[in-house]
């Protein structure tokens, strides 16, 4: 046993898979401690907030101000306000009055503004330009100027008696607050989803649930498959015929179809994560049963098994003590594959709208389902779906890697 373990941990493939998997497990355990709270809590009012640091504006106004003189501040300010359409419009105006703008890069705000301020004059009327368009340019120019001249922003409070505004503070363009001083700052590393939930917090919880679904389903499937395979292979005869009859039928009928039918019949309200896991487990045993059976058949007539039978040992004892140890490595590998395919099955079911009910626990499939329903992939909210796909892929990649590593150890012919 000790020797086998040492051998396993010398396989680079297994170790890589194991490290990735352990890392994910540790993350699942530690992250809820760092960021406690209900993962399904809707923090954001609105859909798909970008990842980043959210600073409370109300608090930052009342925080102690510092003055910093930064040269490029005004430039950056204009940079962030000036949309691409505005930039194109500015270039169009400049072209219209006959200025050579061939080599200007519209993303270079400095050069663009220099040209603009050097040339713009509201009294010029480029040929063919409508009044509406001229007005648009005038408004654009005024906007740019107000940012350039950095007008102060006045904070006012409504007076208690007459509601008259009373000036309480002015904010100039050189005022800064230290983020550490602001009372309320929320870091959303992966933004929020369509319900305004913190994606990262939800993702960690979802990975945990999905893994749990995988483990429950994998254990059930392996248990059923192992039992049937052992019985069919060892007893043979009629038992074998009956078991193989059903196994052959279910290998061809896609288990996905059976999953859909059962899940649909259970109905949304009764589908908890555990129910889904059990249903997946009950439909996934076929592979394990087939391969366990064929392995048991090759072991059935070994001398030690015959000896055991002659000694009058019970069926269960023979199966558990004389046959199971020989196929144990195989069963572990089958279990690993079952876990990873169960996680995939849950995700696929959820995408069809047949996953666990949404209100209780997040799962990877449900997160994906909601992101797709709200077209996160079409509106550019990558944080809502990409981390989910990445997590699913990473979990099954690490499991598959461990499986390949084990395969190479227990099947010496496959070794490099």
């Amino acid at each position: 046993m000790k020797h086998t373990l040492r051998q396993i941990f010398h396989s680079p493939k297994f170790v890589t898979g194991f490290v990735i998997f352990s890392f994910l497990l540790i993350l699942m355990l530690i992250y809820p401690l760092i960021s406690p709270g209900n993962p399904l809590e809707m923090v954001g009012l609105g859909t798909f907030f970008k990842p980043g640091v959210y600073v409370n504006v109300y608090d930052s106004v009342n925080t102690e101000l510092h003055t910093l003189k930064l040269e490029d501040a005004a430039q950056k300010r204009i940079d962030s306000v000036l949309s691409d359409e505005d930039r194109v419009a500015m270039v169009n105006w400049l072209t219209a009055i006959g200025i050579d703008v061939e080599d200007i890069d519209i993303s270079d705000t400095g050069a663009l503004l220099e040209l603009w301020w050097g040339n713009y004059d509201r009294s010029i009327r480029p040929e063919g330009m409508t009044k509406a368009l001229r007005n648009y340019y005038e408004r654009l120019n005024n906007r740019l100027n107000s940012i350039k001249n950095s007008d102060d922003i006045i904070i006012a409070e409504a007076g208690e008696e007459d509601g008259e505004l009373i000036k309480t503070a002015t904010i100039t363009d050189t005022d800064y607050v230290n983020v550490g001083d602001v009372a309320n700052v929320k870091f959303l590393p992966l933004g929020t989803d369509n319900f305004g939930r913190d994606v990262l917090k939800q993702l960690v919880a979802a990975a945990k649930t999905s893994l749990m679904i995988g483990i429950i389903a994998g254990c059930i499937a392996t248990f059923i498959g192992l039992t049937l395979g052992l019985l069919a292979g060892y007893i043979g005869g009629v038992v074998d015929d009956i078991i193989m009859f059903f196994t052959n039928i279910f290998t061809v009928i896609p288990s996905f179809v059976i999953l859909i039918l059962i899940s649909y019949s259970i109905s949304q309200d009764n589908r908890g994560a555990t129910t889904v896991a059990i249903v997946i487990g009950c439909t996934a045993w076929i592979w394990t049963a087939r391969s366990v059976r064929s392995q048991v058949i090759s072991l059935r007539n070994r001398d030690h098994v015959n000896l055991s039978r002659l000694s009058g040992h019970s069926l269960i004892k023979i199966l558990l003590r004389d046959i199971l140890p020989y196929i144990a490595s195989y069963v572990v590998m089958a279990l690993i594959l079952q876990i990873s395919s169960a996680i995939l099955a849950e995700a696929q079911l959820s995408l069809l709208g047949l996953g666990p009910k949404t209100t209780e626990v997040p799962t990877l499939g449900l997160m994906m389902n909601w992101a797709m329903l709200y077209s996160a992939h079409l509106n550019g909210s990558w944080w809502a779906y990409f981390p989910v796909i990445f997590t699913i892929a990473l979990i099954s990649f690490s499991l598959n890697l461990m499986n390949t590593g084990l395969d190479q150890i227990f099947n010496p012919t496959l070794r490099d």
Partner: protein, 335 residues
């Protein structure tokens, strides 16, 4: 011919048995569940209706329509009779369209998408796997983890990633549907071009996943065969490398053919979900529609059709296998 006859006869009998089992399952599974599907549909339709007798009438109408008020054997007889005629009743979500109408327009998209994709993926995967096993060294070190990663990816995940990269960021391919929505299906070049453009992303997302899974299997099989005694013996005899590789490839291929038959079900399942991402008008999208709109007749029919498709495909693969497996061939010469 006797050997073949026996082999094919056995396969045909199995095909029929599985078909019957599939039909029975499709009939019985929803009825075995504690929840009455008719009650579930009634609950959806009768939402907001407080009049008890009205709800009861709705329930009875649906029960009559589905025949659930009749004894189980009669129900089964009707189910089979109607299914044989291709009559699956009327769709709830697209009333008054019949379910068979919806399916007959969806199924060709699914077949046209999945059949070539799975075949191409299987071929490319096998070639890649055999090359990885034969060349080894650097090639294997790169290809193997890449294939493992591709096969770990769910089909819908690959679909989303391809869609975002090629459809939205690079804008080289359309993002949804099977043809431009401004067009009406016809046989013009413009329409065919649009179909081909819309075909690319769903096609490749299925192919890449299939390549990954098949390459891993083929690589293991080939390594196993390359280490076999007959290969060493052939080398010892001085047979050319190219010829040995051909033998190895053939021997490693056989389990891969069976493997394709066995993994077909899960591949089709994954591809159906990938269809949803592209709103491809195939069976997968129909299933989603059936689930979200509680369209029970549609769901029942689509699952039956998919099972039937997989059964037929598996049967065809089994027949092809009979022709290429030397053991079946040998049995023919013996007799």
């Amino acid at each position: 011919m006797k050997g073949y006859g026996k082999y094919f006869g056995k396969k045909i009998i199995w095909f029929l048995i599985t078909l019957v089992a599939a039909v029975i399952l499709n009939f019985i599974l929803p009825r075995l569940m504690p929840n009455d599907p008719v009650a579930a549909i009634t609950a959806r339709t009768a939402e907001g209706i407080s009049d008890v007798s009205a709800v009861k009438r709705i329930y009875e109408t649906y029960a009559e329509q589905f025949g659930t008020n009749k004894p189980i054997p009669t129900q089964f007889y009707l189910f089979v009779k109607n299914a044989l005629r291709g009559d699956f009743g009327l769709s709830f979500s697209q009333y008054p369209r019949s379910v068979s109408d919806i399916i007959s327009s969806a199924i060709w998209w699914t077949i046209a998408l999945q059949l070539p994709a799975i075949i191409v993926g299987w071929l490319l995967g096998n070639i890649l796997g055999a090359l990885a096993a034969y060349i080894r060294k650097g090639f294997d070190k790169v290809v193997m983890p890449a294939c493992l990663l591709a096969s770990s990816m769910p089909a819908f995940g690959m679909a989303v990633i391809l869609l975002v990269i090629f459809g939205i960021t690079l804008k080289v391919a359309p993002t949804s549907g099977a043809y431009s929505y401004t067009m009406i299906p016809n046989l013009s070049w413009k329409f065919i071009k649009s179909v081909i453009e819309h075909y690319q992303l769903p096609f490749w997302s299925i192919v890449i996943i299939a390549i990954g899974g098949q390459a891993i299997g083929m690589r293991s099989m080939s390594i196993y065969e390359l280490n076999a005694d007959y290969v060493k013996y052939s080398r010892f005899l001085g047979i050319k490398d190219g010829k040995i590789v051909r033998y190895v490839f053939r021997n490693a291929m056989l389990p891969q053919v069976t493997g394709l038959a066995l993994s077909l079900g899960s591949m089709v399942g994954g591809a159906l979900v990938a269809e949803i991402i592209f709103s491809y008008p195939g069976i997968g999208t129909s299933i989603l529609q059936a689930v979200t709109m509680a369209d029970y007749p549609l769901l029942s029919a689509t699952t039956l059709i998919i099972t039937l498709m997989v059964l037929i495909a598996t049967f065809v693969i089994d027949i092809i296998y009979g022709f290429i497996d030397p053991r079946v061939k040998a049995a023919q010469f013996d007799s």
